[in-house]
């Protein structure tokens, strides 16, 4: 693998506008043109409907770590929901209206004082997209994928997370239908927080398992 594995600079254009229309003032790059052409052919030939891609973009835009955070906060505050979530992650998410637009299933991995979970996809980039949105670049790149299964504690340390020797580190490598979501431990000092306040503490990286959920900072409502 070269050092350029997954570098994401678009060599011809620098897009300043996050919501640029398909045709912009910059010349579309080679792959942009290929994608437009491929998509148009698929539609012209009747393989896919004209609006399907636009609709799916809306679906994808609605998926982000805030959804996962709400699932975690609900699990922290509702023991019955937590039990259902640990039994079947997908159906529990669907209870909250988080639909799964594909055939993946979800296993929620519970962090405890004796077990710390970490998720990775060494072979590609499997990630619980319906509930977390799209993964960060580093999750898809070689260093994380190669090392998380080989030296998870060193990887965690790079994120500032030190796991004591008496805590078991459990790495889940996705390869098929199951996707994983880490259910982090609820931090101290949050007993008085509402579910919404709890959700605001939960970050994407905590649900991947590279960091814990940090306790509220002094001055936050508690």
């Amino acid at each position: 693998m070269t050092a350029h594995e997954d570098h994401d600079h678009d060599h011809g254009t620098e897009h300043e506008h996050p919501h640029s229309p398909i045709e912009t003032t910059d010349k579309p790059g080679y792959y942009d043109i290929m994608e437009q052409a491929f998509q148009e052919l698929m539609i012209e030939k009747g393989y896919i409907g004209a609006d399907k891609i636009r609709h799916q973009i809306e679906v994808l835009d609605s998926r982000n770590p805030a959804l996962g955070a709400k699932v975690v906060a609900r699990a922290w505050t509702d023991p019955d929901f937590r039990a259902r979530l640990l039994q079947n992650g997908r159906t529990a998410c669907e209870e909250l209206g988080i639909t799964f637009y594909d055939l993946t299933e979800l296993i929620v991995l519970e962090n405890t004082p004796s077990v710390h979970n970490l998720i990775v996809c060494t072979l590609c980039s499997c990630y619980p997209r319906p509930v977390l949105g799209l993964p960060p670049d580093w999750y898809k790149a070689k260093p994380y994928r190669a090392r998380a299964v080989y030296e998870p504690r060193k990887v965690l340390a790079e994120f500032g997370t030190i796991i004591p020797d008496d805590v078991e580190v459990r790495v889940s490598d996705s390869t098929a239908i199951q996707r994983y979501l880490v259910l982090p431990m609820r931090p101290d000092g949050t007993d008085q927080m509402s579910e919404e306040e709890l959700a605001s503490l939960v970050t994407r990286d905590a649900m991947i398992g590279v960091i814990p959920v940090k306790p509220p900072t002094r001055g936050a409502s508690s």
Partner: protein
């Protein structure tokens, strides 16, 4: 014997346990075409025109040089083209003509 069989036996994406440097915690907002490409992949999989596992296999089949030099979504769209040709859903000429048309359309707007 030149040891080339490792290229077949160990696919370019099979990197668990290999030496690798420090993790650079980078991320980027998807470019519009990348987002379209991701949505396209989901639609192709839903209808099983090109399923997700075919896409994975197709990316592997690009070979280590392309896997190393193309970015994540560039690998996807190149793979979709290859697989669509293999399945005779479109021809290389059709795609090339349509790409020229898309580019001409852009030029006529400037």
């Amino acid at each position: 014997m030149n040891g080339s069989e490792q290229l077949l036996k160990r696919l370019p994406n099979d990197i668990g346990g290999l030496e690798a440097p420090k993790i650079e915690q980078t991320d980027h907002d998807l470019l519009p075409w990348e987002k379209r490409c991701h949505a396209l992949a989901d639609i192709l999989d839903f209808h099983k025109i090109i399923n997700t596992e075919e896409k994975r296999r197709g990316v592997e089949a690009l070979g280590s040089e392309m896997v190393g030099k193309l970015t994540y979504y560039e690998r996807w769209i190149a793979t979709f083209a290859n697989i669509a040709f293999q399945k005779q859903l479109i021809t290389p000429e059709e795609l090339a003509k349509k790409m020229a048309e898309v580019e001409a359309r852009w030029r006529s707007h400037i």
